[in-house]
Amino acid sequence: MNSKEPVLSVSNLSFSYPDRSLVLKDLNLIVWPGERVGIIGPNGAGKTTFFMLICGVLKTTSGEIRLFGKPVVPGEFHPEVGMVFQNPDDQLFCPSVRDDVAFGPRNLGLPEEEVEARVREAFAVTGMQELGDYPPHHLSGGQKRMAAIAGVLAMRPRLVIYDEPTSNLDIRYRRRLIHFLRGARETMLIASHDLEFILEVCDRVILIDEGRIVADAKPREVMGNAALMEAHGLERPHSLVPHAEPHHN
C-alpha cells in the first residue's frame, strides 16, 4: 500500500434527497491509511447518508468521492470498503453464522478453499469460532454485532465503516469491541454517540452538524472544547472535564 495515497478523498461533496433541502453541504475530507476517524454529531446530522455515499449506494448531487484514487461509481460493487450497519439484524440473513460470513467472499467469486480460509480468519479475529453453526437469530446482541463485523472483515476491506457499533452492547462486549478495533489494521470511519468510546479508539475526530464539517482534529482537542460541543448538541465527555482531584490520568 502506498502510504502517500489517501484512502478516501472527498471534495466539495453536496447531497440532497429529491424532495428535501441539502443534507450534506460542500464536504471536504481526506483520510490517510491507518487512520481511525471518529465521526460525531447530533442525530440527523447526515452521518449515515455520508456513509451511503462513500459506499456508492447513493449518488452525489455534486462533488466527488475517491477511494484509493479511483472515483466511486454509484451502484457498483466496491469490495475495498466494508460497512457494518447500525443494526446487525439488517446484515445477518443466512441460516447459520458461517454461511453469513462466507456470503461476501463467495460473491467475490473466490474458490471454496479460499472462502473457508477467509471465514476461519474472520472468526479468529472476532472470536466467533464456537458460534459458527448457530443461526444468527439465536445470538445475543453482542454476538450478533461481532458476527456482522466478521461478515465484513471476511472480504478483507481496506476501509471499514462502522455505524454506531456500540449501540445495544453490554459493558463486556463494548470493551471487547474497543480492544478489537484498537488492534485492527484497516483504516476506519466510526460514527458513534458513545464519545468515551470514540476517545478510546480514534486518533482523529470529525464533528458534523447540519451537513457540514464543523471540526476536524485530534479527539481531545475537539471533544475537550466544551463550547464547541455544546453548540452542536453534544457534551464534553466526562473524562475530559478537568477534575479538582485528578482521577483520570
Partner: protein
Amino acid sequence: MKLQLDEYAYLNTPLHRWDPRYKLISFMVLIFAFSFVHSLYLLPGMVAVSGTLYIVSSLPLSFLLARLRLPGFFLLMMAVLLPFLSGQNALFYLGPLAVKQEGCLDLLLISVKFLCILTLVIILFGTTPFLTNIKAMRALGLSSILADMILFSYRYLYDIGDKLKTMETAMKLRGFLRRNLKSLGTLASLAGTILVRSYEQSDRVYKAMILRGYGQAGGTRSGPRRDEFQAYPRDLAGLLVLVFIAVAFVVAEICLR
C-alpha cells in the same frame, strides 16, 4: 414505494368534509353500478360522473396519473390481446392478423370502466386519511379482528419495507448481484429473515400492548365507537345523490340491453 395514499386527505372540499361512512357507502354503490354497465352508450356518462367528482375533490391530476402507471400494464396487455382474439368481424388486417370489431369494442368498454372505477377508488381513499377510512369500516360493521389486523399491518408495512430495503443494501455492499436463478436460495433466506424478524417484533409488540391493557374487557376494543363520527343532513344528501346516480346507471343499462 412511498406513494402516500392520503397525501391530499387534508384539503377542504365537500368531498373531504363528507362523513367517511356515508362516503364509503356511496362510492361503493356507485363503483358496483359502474361495474354493472355493459352498454357503450353509458360510457360518456360514467366518464362525466367520475371526472366531475375528481374535479370537485381538487386532487391534482398528477396524483391520478402517477397511480395509473402500474395498472397501465394490464390495460396494455388487454390492448394487445383483445382486438385479435375476440369476435368474427374483421375491421382491418395487420399483416396476417385480423383486428376484430368486437374485440376493439370490448377493449373500449373494459378500459373506460376500469379507468372510471379506479378514479373513484382514488377519490375515495385520497380524500380521507387511510386510518379514518378503516375506522369508518369498523363503524359500519367490519369485524374487529379484521379491522385490527388492517390497522396493525398498515402500521408496520412501511417499517418492514424499509427493513427489506436496508437488508438489500447490506447484501449489495457485500457483492450480491441477482443475476440468475442461483440467487433464489439467497433471496429465500432474505424473505425468511424478513418473516422471522417481523415475527419476533410482533412478539415484542404484543407484550408491550398487553402491558398497556390490550384485550381487556371494557377496553377500547369492546366494539365500534359510533360516536367517533357525526353525520349531518348534508352527508345524507350526498349519499342520496350518488345512490340516485348509481340507480340511474343500472336502470339505463337494463333498458338498453
